[in-house]
């Protein structure tokens, strides 16, 4: 239910959640189902208001993603960035969890919950089939996106134990003197209320403010008594990742009727994509990637393409390949605070994100290996469109890794329970938790982790 600031009595809430996007919504939903009462703070209102959006979501972007890029994927309205989500879903692979403090197996029960939450069959979490030698068909699930500002969120926001305060921003978390928990929060309610509210030890905070917002709140929670909250080892904001998207980075010419495996009908809507199998992944250096297949036209003007078709028996099918790839988790890619504040008093931020040489070479490596595998058995040939890879890179609108999980506080911000290291009642939800990004669109994993966090906090006394 929606509440006004005057109606808020902070002491009655078990959990306070900053943000109403997929991470905050699913955390709230899970907690409410487990009998907990939650307060959700949302900077925006029910629809996107440009004044709110433009004054709160400000990021100075350096590197491959500029100042116009990040704010578009950091929406300040009820439902958060689900407002602009396109509905692509895939889980991370087991291998993507190698440096996480949890395994894919640990998360599997919540991946199934996430599939149901997002209206997909559980099959999308497991289905794959061998295809081009060294690569498996692993389609992306495509379906109407859950927009938590619209119908997908109605039941959550109307729940009697979920209280939603719009126009409200979590502006700071205040550490206890022993830094083992949070003793108070500062909430800004537009246009002119800034108030510090005390918390008891059995009340928890969940940061679900997006990959930029979660880092921003922690970096801004600096009261002069030491490092900002969670930033004792200068880890907050680091390991920022996107998913480099390279549209039409190659063409594949295969024997007519070569065919690719298709998922069973129960899979639902999908976009076909080839993904390296584990051996190929290791051989190519361990940076993940997927290659979407789109039917394309033969370029009969190109004598080489005609030659290739001739070599393949005179009849061929042509596909365009579009890559969605992983960035190596690099501590130098980071969100930092810069001079100035947003209306709530949170520091303005700068995001430096450079796609690395290894990331680019990995794409070239996969394409060459795929081309070699096809050519070796005379199944097909590949043409690499080098200029597209190096001149046309964009992202997926994914803000990943800024409060990454890990067992070691010196190289991570949050632990296996999504708790900020050392702070008993401070938790994080969202893609900022990801230790590595894989190639998969993050929403599935965001929702799985949020449901898991909700179960964890909901099970606590």
């Amino acid at each position: 239910m929606f509440v006004s600031f005057q109606e808020v009595n902070l002491s009655r809430y078990d959990v306070i959640i900053a943000g109403s996007g997929p991470a905050g919504a699913v955390t709230a939903k899970t907690l409410a189902a487990r009998g907990k009462t939650v307060l959700v703070l949302e900077s925006g209102v029910r629809e996107i208001e440009p004044t709110i959006q433009d004054s709160f979501s400000v990021v100075h972007g350096l590197g491959h993603f500029d100042s116009g890029y990040w704010p578009t994927h950091w929406v300040r309205a009820l439902g958060g960035t689900s407002a602009v989500w396109s509905g692509w879903v895939a889980p991370l692979s087991a291998r993507n969890f190698a440096s996480w403090p949890i395994t894919r197996e640990d998360l599997d029960p919540w991946y199934d919950i996430a599939a149901r939450e997002l209206g997909r069959p559980e099959l999308i979490n497991t289905w794959e089939a061998p295809s081009v030698p060294g690569f498996d068909m692993r389609p992306f699930s495509r379906h109407e996106p859950n927009r938590y500002g619209d119908e997908a969120g109605t039941e959550i926001w109307e729940h009697e134990r979920v209280h939603v305060l719009l126009n409200a921003t979590l502006a700071r978390v205040h550490p206890r003197p022993d830094r083992r928990g949070i003793s108070a929060i500062t909430v800004y309610v537009a246009p002119d209320v800034t108030t510090e509210l005390p918390l008891s030890e059995n009340q928890s905070i969940v940061l679900a403010a997006g990959g930029m917002g979660n880092a921003q709140i922690l970096l801004g929670s600096d009261d002069g008594t030491g490092a900002a909250v969670g930033n004792e080892f200068d880890q907050v904001g680091r390991y920022l990742m996107e998913h480099p998207h390279l549209y039409h980075c190659a063409n594949m010419v295969v024997r007519a009727g070569y065919g690719f495996p298709e998922p069973p009908a129960g899979f639902g809507g999908f976009t076909p994509a080839l993904v390296p199998d584990d051996a190929m992944f290791e051989a190519n250096g361990g940076i993940d990637a997927s290659f979407q297949l789109s039917p394309d036209d033969t370029n009969a003007d190109d004598a080489i393409e005609r030659f290739v078709v001739e070599r393949l028996g005179g009849q061929a099918d042509v596909y365009s390949l579009s890559a969605r790839t992983e960035m190596v988790a690099d501590p130098g890619n980071r969100v930092e605070r810069v001079f100035g504040t947003d209306p709530s008093g949170l520091p303005r931020i700068r995001a430096t994100c450079v796609v690395g040489a290894d990331d680019y070479r990995s794409v070239l490596g996969y394409l060459r290996r795929m081309g070699d595998a096809l050519a070796r058995e005379n199944l097909g040939r590949i043409r690499i469109n080098n200029d597209v890879i190096f001149n046309d890179l964009t992202g997926g609108g994914h803000t990943v890794g800024t409060t990454r999980m890990g067992d070691n506080p010196r190289t991570s911000v949050t632990d296996a329970d999504c708790r900020v290291h050392g702070y008993a009642n401070l938790f994080v939800a969202g893609s900022s938790l990801f230790t590595t990004g894989g190639y998969a669109n993050p929403t599935m994993t965001i929702v799985a982790l949020a449901a898991r966090l909700g179960d964890y906090l909901g099970g606590q006394a």
């Binding site: 996107i48 602009v84 396109s86």
Partner: protein, 152 residues
Amino acid sequence: MKRRDFLFGTAGFVVGTVFVFGTAATMYQARKARRAAAASAGPRRVQGGMDDWVLTDADRSEIAARNAMSESQSLELLDNIDIPGAGDMRSERVANVDECIASCEGDDSCNAFTFARMSHPNAGKRHMCWIKSDRNPERLVSDVHYISGRRP
């Protein structure tokens, strides 16, 4: 404000009605579409030349054979030479240089020809054959992607 207005407004360019699975496209998706259109249009995607293809050694041997210097009874052949202009009468796509030679030999008005090898960086020119009318064209340009010929 509707979300679509926000997105398209922020995008800063006219998107019209781009829908992805029945939903309003984001600025990002519109940009994707524009990039996709740009990437698939025109010769840009094949500017990298023959080496952008992942080919087998056998493929390359076969291509080299088809692009090797040939012989002619009636024409003086010039390897690695382009004859630009020189009264271009027609152009045709051929399977190999011998087809181009035969085309010129069989045409009394043909006094010169130029053939583009598969190695040509512009995909549209690969294995094109230009039939020319000028007798004793003087402008010969060194270029490894061509074989030319002229009547002695």
